[in-house]
Each structure stands twice: as structure tokens, then as C-alpha cells.
Symmetry: C2
Subunit: 116 residues, 2 copies
């Protein structure tokens, strides 16, 4: 039947504590070096940044360009294929915005914490 739900496949590439914010920044700036990402995302460790970038690279969402220099220079950018994510990310962002408003309506504005 092939009607299997593939929502999880889409989820997979976005899940991870830092992937959305990494993508957001690369989308915004076009191209970013590793150290620029580190600056833009306070609190992220090199290890986390590396693993999340590698996962996105594996999925062909971002491109990793190494300049053979010392000290090293590595630039990350969205692949052409990765740009196809834009509509989906925008839908999710829109839905997220309105959902925050909805939760406010239900539980009140003063509920900053998630009772998840």
C-alpha cells in the first residue's frame, strides 16, 4: 500500500537539541564558519555542533567546505537540495507561533514553563 506514515523521516533530520537553530542561522547568513556558528549559538559545545552538522551533512541539507589552510577554515552552507526544506520549516514556524498563542489562551499567558 505504501501509505506508511513518513512524518518520522522528516522529523529525523530536525530532531536534536540544536538542529533548528543551526539551520536557522545558516539560512539567515548564507555561509558560516564553524567558529561563527559557535558564537551565534551560545552554550553549544564543539562536540554538539560537530555532530549536528555532520548529521545535517549526511542528509544533504548542508554543505561542508574545507579550506586546506592552517589554522583551518571550514564553511557551512545550505545545499540546493536543503533549500527545499524552506516551505516545511516555514509551515512549522507558523504553526508553532499560533500554537504558542493557543496554549496561552488555554493555560494563560503566565505559564512560561512547559508542563510536558
Amino acid at each position: 500500500m505504501s501509505h506508511e506514515c513518513k512524518v518520522e523521516t522528516a522529523l529525523d533530520i530536525l530532531v536534536g537539541k540544536w538542529k533548528p537553530v543551526i539551520l536557522f542561522n545558516i539560512f539567515q547568513h548564507g555561509t558560516l564558519r564553524f567558529s561563527e556558528l559557535q558564537r551565534l549559538i551560545p552554550n553549544i559545545t564543539k562536540k554538539m555542533l560537530t555532530t549536528q552538522l555532520r548529521e545535517l551533512e549526511y542528509h544533504d541539507i548542508i554543505n561542508r567546505k574545507v579550506y586546506p589552510q592552517v589554522p583551518p577554515k571550514v564553511e557551512y552552507s545550505i545545499t540546493d537540495y536543503g533549500k527545499g526544506l524552506t516551505p516545511l520549516l516555514e509551515s512549522m514556524h507558523e504553526w508553532g507561533l499560533s500554537h504558542i498563542a493557543h496554549l496561552d489562551k488555554i493555560y494563560g499567558e503566565n505559564n512560561t514553563e512547559k508542563s510536558n
Copy 2:
């Protein structure tokens, strides 16, 4: 500016090993009892089913209707608000399908495992 990325908010309500398949089933069947969900989702434990359902309920995606009987009867259904998720879920499903094809093209069909 309020241009903050709210993709994570959308992500939040879908993350959890079982949420997509739970939603999928309730969407398909309209209304399902706890035990019916258990049957439809082999391997899920009562505890996981309970916690995932409670999280979805907190977000007003599903409705929990308790019949005061013995033995207990509890029915779960999508709320009207929750139905607003449909377009997003469909976009994710579509993207997921084409992404699987894309990965196949890159890494070959015989790569069932994720090198995530």
C-alpha cells in the same frame, strides 16, 4: 523583532518515539480506546502509550473521554484544534517520502540502515 524561530515548538508536540504513529492511528480511525491503540501499535508499553497520550492531550491535540464504568473505558480522538495539524503532517509526510528517495539516490537503495 519577534522573528524567533518557532520550529521547535511544532517539533515539541511531535517528538517522542510514538507520537507520530499514535496520531496517525487516531486520525485514521477517528476514535480509539486505549486498548485498541495498544493493539494497533505492537511493542508499545502501557507506560509509553499513557505518557505520549497525556502530552498530546496537554497540547490540546487529542481529547480524552472517560466513561465511568467498570472495567474502565477511555476513548481518544483528535480535537477540532488538533485537526489543524493535518496540513503540516501531510507536508512532513510528503517531504519524508521524497527525502527517502533522495537518500536512495545518494547512498544507494541497499542502504537500509541510517548512518545517523
